[in-house]
Amino acid sequence: MKKLIALTVNGQVHEVAVEPRQTLLDALRYDLGLTGTKEGCGTGNCGSCTVIMDGKAINSCLVLAIDSEGNNITTIEGLAQDGQLHPLQQAFIDESAIQCGFCAPGMLLSAKALIDVNHHPTEIEIRQAIAGNICRCTGYDKIVRTILKQTATGKEQCHA
């Protein structure tokens, strides 16, 4: 039976009617039309469904929508501000850290969750933070280098 819940996504509260078995991923994509969050494996292995919940990167494919009431959720659609891409998004484009782009929303959110609490991460910290995000195209090096470059001392705007 469907139940009405309130989901807080990118600062906005949405009322959604969900079945208990609906995942947060499905509610985002099909009820809210936020299709930037991708479904790869559906089992927690690929990270393409990563969103930030209360400051932490999580796999939205393994969380029930009904279990997400009252949490603050940030999806890839929430990164740009006033039509301006987040510096990390722009850097991914400028540095060609994106090929097909399927992994990018999850990669960016995992990276953002890291740099929100660790402004100048080391390469190892970056690699650990995105270890749950699979990219089949870039070979990771460009992604890691882009995040490293963007968070190097002097680039404070990234975690604004």
Partner: protein
């Protein structure tokens, strides 16, 4: 996933009465095991009882004598707790290896042991540290040593109307140290083909007063290598003794062949891991080991 009822328990007593009142219900913590099983239809509960909002299950505290890990505390929070890293390092090592950041942000300590996967990473470390499970049932509570907790793949000794409240880990004595290592085909995000925890306590003179070796993915449940441990207790350690203990541990393993590895390979790799973890634990304990109280 088939349809089910979602119930969120606000207190321990509410969770216990929901368990009693609902048939075929399952407790839900981080869901990183259960939701996957429900998607595969390996688990088809008629109700999920969410335990994440229960206060007692969210405790994370070191009181000098013991570390108290509430069953619903996420793994990421446990490894970020300095006392765990400083005083219960083997547990820190094991939990840091579980899944990815995303999995550790949701997955809990309780879920890891209650799911009872023979390959789970935290049980060998918990066995090494002599941890206990605090279980609540109908008007009662029981405390069990970790050795008695597991019954087989996916099975624990808890009955359908019980739930895990917390894991209690006694503070390791001075001059002790542990080490956990696992072997996986991929470095990150893979299930252990073998996992070994070793934990040694030395006295002032360097003699071993207690040895624990625990193995994952080597039997239907996580197990200790009792004979191998006995070969070290009371002895002044050297590389030869550690090598013999590692060989003995491998003989005590009862591995199976599956798609991840053959029985023979598992038996070989467990010996290597036992030797490496024992060596690391010995070196760390000789260097002073964990801080005393």
């Amino acid at each position: 996933m088939i349809d089910f009822q979602y119930l969120s328990a606000r207190s321990l007593s509410e969770a216990l009465s929901l368990l009693r009142e609902t048939k075929h219900s399952r407790l839900l913590a981080g869901g990183t095991d259960l939701i996957v099983q429900m998607k595969d239809r390996r688990a088809n509960p008629s109700a999920c009882i969410d335990v994440k909002k229960i206060q007692e299950l969210n405790r994370l505290e070191w009181d000098g004598n013991s570390l108290h890990i509430g069953a619903a505390v996420p793994l990421a929070k446990i490894i970020a707790f300095n006392e765990v890293k400083n005083r219960f390092n083997i547990l820190y090592q094991a939990m840091s290896l579980i899944g990815s950041v995303q999995v550790r942000n949701r997955g809990t300590a309780g879920g890891n042991i209650c799911n009872a996967a023979p390959s789970a990473d935290s049980p060998p470390a918990l066995l090494c540290l002599g941890a206990r499970a605090v279980i609540a049932g109908n008007n009662s509570q029981r405390i069990l040593p970790m050795e008695k907790f597991f019954r087989g793949p996916g099975k624990t000794v808890m009955t359908a109307d019980e739930l895990l409240v917390e894991i209690e880990v006694p503070t390791p004595p001075p001059h002790s140290a542990g080490c956990y290592m696992r072997h996986t085909p991929r470095e990150e995000m893979d299930i252990a083909v073998a996992g070994v925890g070793s934990f040694l306590v030395l006295d002032e003179t360097g003699r071993c007063t207690q040895a624990r070796i625990a193995m994952g993915a080597m039997a239907p449940t996580p197990i200790r290598a009792i004979e191998a441990e006995a070969g070290l207790t009371g002895k002044v350690l050297n590389h030869d003794l550690l090598e013999k203990a590692a060989e003995q541990a491998s003989l005590e393993a009862r591995p199976i062949s599956d798609l991840r590895a053959s029985m023979e390979y598992r038996r070989e790799i467990v010996k290597v891991l036992a030797r490496r973890t024992l060596t690391n634990a010995w070196q760390a304990a000789s260097a002073g080991g964990v801080k005393s109280k």
